[in-house]
């Protein structure tokens, strides 16, 4: 699975007996182009610009649905849950001044296959979180 897209979601929905509602289309459309790991509240306000009566239950319902089918990932950076529409392998940069979260394509970080973990755990994946100050906050 790569990046969340409206087409992929509609295909999945019709294939699995789920229904596409206007609210869901707006939510997916928002997530599709979101770059900063939106919170549920970000999604709530975005969808309410188009459909002012949309409830938080619908937002969470849709987010959990997409999560369950593997098209959206949860991340816990900061104090709220955040949603990541990028399901490709990647890393993150986080600005500790403004909270910006930015994806780092995984080719930009050298491979780390050769660490010698203690204790015979089975390693399946790893991700790198880079912290610092983003270009805007440096000023």
């Amino acid at each position: 699975m790569d990046r969340l897209s409206l087409r992929a979601v509609e295909e999945m929905a019709s294939g699995e007996g789920f229904k596409m509602t206007p609210q869901r289309r707006v939510i997916v459309n928002y997530l599709e182009k979101a770059t900063n790991h939106p919170t549920a509240d970000d999604v709530f306000y975005a969808v309410n610009k188009k459909f002012p009566m949309t409830s938080r239950a619908t937002v969470y319902n849709t987010l959990n649905w997409l999560k369950t089918v593997g098209m959206l990932r949860e991340r816990f950076e900061g104090e709220k849950m955040r949603y990541d529409p990028n399901c490709e392998r990647h890393h993150h940069f986080i600005c500790h001044a403004c909270g910006l979260v930015e994806d780092i394509n995984s080719e930009l970080i050298e491979e780390l296959d050769a660490f010698k973990l203690p204790g015979k755990h089975k390693v399946e994946s790893y991700e790198v979180t880079v912290r610092g100050v983003c270009r805007n906050c440096r000023k």
Copy 2:
């Protein structure tokens, strides 16, 4: 700052006008030897074995105090906040079957100084999160 210790906390407390209470001593003593990033509830139950009337407010108060003075770190793995008494630079292994969190000494992972981040962010640190199945869950 390295690893949380009772001596260091007592020194800091007397130096800064804070008070050491029996509850705080038990909490610090528990954190000192905790290896699995305990939750506030873990701390609550541990301290209540020795002082059965200890409130959650006291637990959170103490955890936030230690966090504020930089002797304890918060991490968000799973659905609750977790507290990490290890303030040295290190990485983590997380088992997605049982939730185990284990520290990885930073020498065990090769240096990553040379990534070329896009966008002129100022990089200050990075941490690696390794995911997989721990030795116990492999059985």
